[in-house]
Amino acid sequence: MNRSRETKALISIGIIGLIILFGAPHSLDLFSVISLTTAVSLAILALSLGLIWGFGGILCFGQTAFFGIGGYAYAIAALNFGGSTGAILAALIVAAGSAAVLGYFMFYGRLSDVYLAVITLTVTLILYSVIRRTSGPEYKIGIAKLGGFNGINVPPINYPWDATQFLYPEHVFYVAMVALLLAYFLCVWVTKSHFGRVSVSIRENELRSELLGYDVRLYKLCMFTIGGAIAGLAGIMFANSIGRITPDVFNLYNAALAIIWVIIGGRGTLIGPVLGALVLFYMTSFLGQQSVVNINLFLGLVLIVFVLVVPKGIVPSLIQLWDRRRSRRMTARSAKKMRRRGRSRVKEISVEE
């Protein structure tokens, strides 16, 4: 029963995704489509953190590092290759590769969770500082100038293997949405697989998994690398949505934001972080237009309220609420039945008399 409900939920998520995919560009103006593309790319980032933190138990405070690396690698490769097809592939490999290298030292060095969070955050902030200082013309990779805090202008995505045919913003949205759906169902598949179930067990109790014969370091490394690749994909889509990639992707604000999305959406689910990112993205941009409250103040308040009142996050809490209501309804129904049965028995007895 539980499984069929899960399948239903997955199918409805897929359908809603397809409706947005095909519906949004027709019903929204260009600016809204572009900002939706940005939101979708951030949702992919949230998804990657939701996977490694919620399922792998790896609290990566610097998931934005791989997001930014993906974006930068794409921009640099696209400029040098003169096309986006190979650049996307290269960016994915660079993002996953850097996650693998960093992860190797952290997991095989057996760092504890706190140090892991600190190190990943530090890596992001180091990247932020370093890339901000690359304004001079001497800082370039191939023909791509790194541009310091101004960042790099990202050439738009083109049709596969045809660098002369650029995609319009609406089409970039299609690509981003498809990327989100693919990444989402990839994550679902990973968590259902033997690998994913073992990863969850490592989250629950590392020593036990190890004593069962699982190489905890290797499992964590693979999980971290998959997360890095997905964050890289998010970075590629982000760079394409706004047409520019700047060192700000590596700053503390964005690193913290990713954690907040996952906390609000709910750890241990995949759709939770996606919703968390989308909701917060629109909420902050709405508040930014109103300029009534300071956005940082608002985010801090939201975080505190969630940690205190809804520590599990939106999606797990909703599921719990739904389950409780249903079981209450079930017991109410069975109680009614019992009462009816009892009454009829009384009638029978009185008839016999």
Binding site: V200, S201, E204, N205, S209, E210, L211, L212, G213
Partner: protein, 241 residues
């Protein structure tokens, strides 16, 4: 004779700073044996246990399992050799249900299909059917211990090492655990680290007594109970309390 020794330590020592927890211990275990390790608190049993399961890297000496020197290996490598390990504190997956806990153990070495069969067998054998969908965190302490024993079983080990399997169990559960241990011993060699003399009497064949990091005496239960040195350090101490 030497050929059927399956686990051996050669002058195994473990120091923590100035404290010598295990002091040049030579220990050997034959196939199909059921060996109990006893000793007062701080005798070095648990440190010895952690050394042979590679949770600790010994300061000196070697641990040899089936002619393979595992000193300096990782715990998961020892476990992969077919060694089932249960720690003192219940180490289970609290957020996962009973079936998933056991399945995770079974599927480490067995195929997907076989793992499912093993899981339902173990659940039946330990009479855990009623709680098979309950998360471990919601179960009583004794049941959690039993599930952990089930996880050890599900790995189909040939060598089983248990650290205080009856700690915190009710009398009924202790009896059931003793049955399970005898049953496991039909097909596997075992080491049981224990505190509870009652329980050891129920299962023991050969007993090794630890004292101050060294092996004090080895023998069967009767020899051990009548040994005056053992009485002094362990039983006598207990009676007076």
């Amino acid at each position: 004779m030497r050929s059927n020794v399956v686990l051996e330590t050669r002058s195994l020592s473990m120091h923590f700073g100035g404290v010598v927890a295990v002091d040049r211990v030579d220990f050997s275990l034959r196939e199909n044996e059921l060996r109990c390790l006893i000793g007062p608190n701080g005798a070095g049993k648990s440190t010895f246990f952690k050394c042979i399961t590679a949770q600790l890297r010994p300061t000196a000496g070697d641990v040899v399992i089936r002619d393979f020197n595992v000193t300096g290996s990782e715990s998961h490598q020892v476990a992969r050799m077919g060694v089932g390990i249960k720690t003192q504190v219940p180490n289970v997956f609290d957020g996962l249900d009973v079936e998933e806990n056991i399945w995770l153990s079974a599927s480490q070495s067995a195929s997907v299909k076989r793992a499912r069969v093993i899981t339902s067998e173990v659940v039946e054998r330990l009479e855990l059917g009623e709680v098979r969908k309950s998360p471990l965190g919601s179960l009583a302490h004794g049941q959690r211990q039993l599930v952990e024993l089930g996880m050890v079983l599900a790995g189909e080990p040939w060598l089983v090492i248990l650290d205080e399997p009856t700690a915190g169990m009710t009398q009924d559960e202790v009896v059931r655990t003793a049955d399970v241990i005898r049953e496991i011993n039909q097909s596997a060699t075992m080491i049981v680290v224990e505190h509870d003399m009652q329980f050891i009497r129920m299962i023991a064949q050969k007993v090794t007594v630890f004292h101050q990091g060294k092996i004090l005496v080895e023998g069967n239960m009767d020899e051990i109970s009548s040994d005056h040195r053992v009485r002094e350090v362990y039983l006598g101490h207990r009676k007076s309390s």
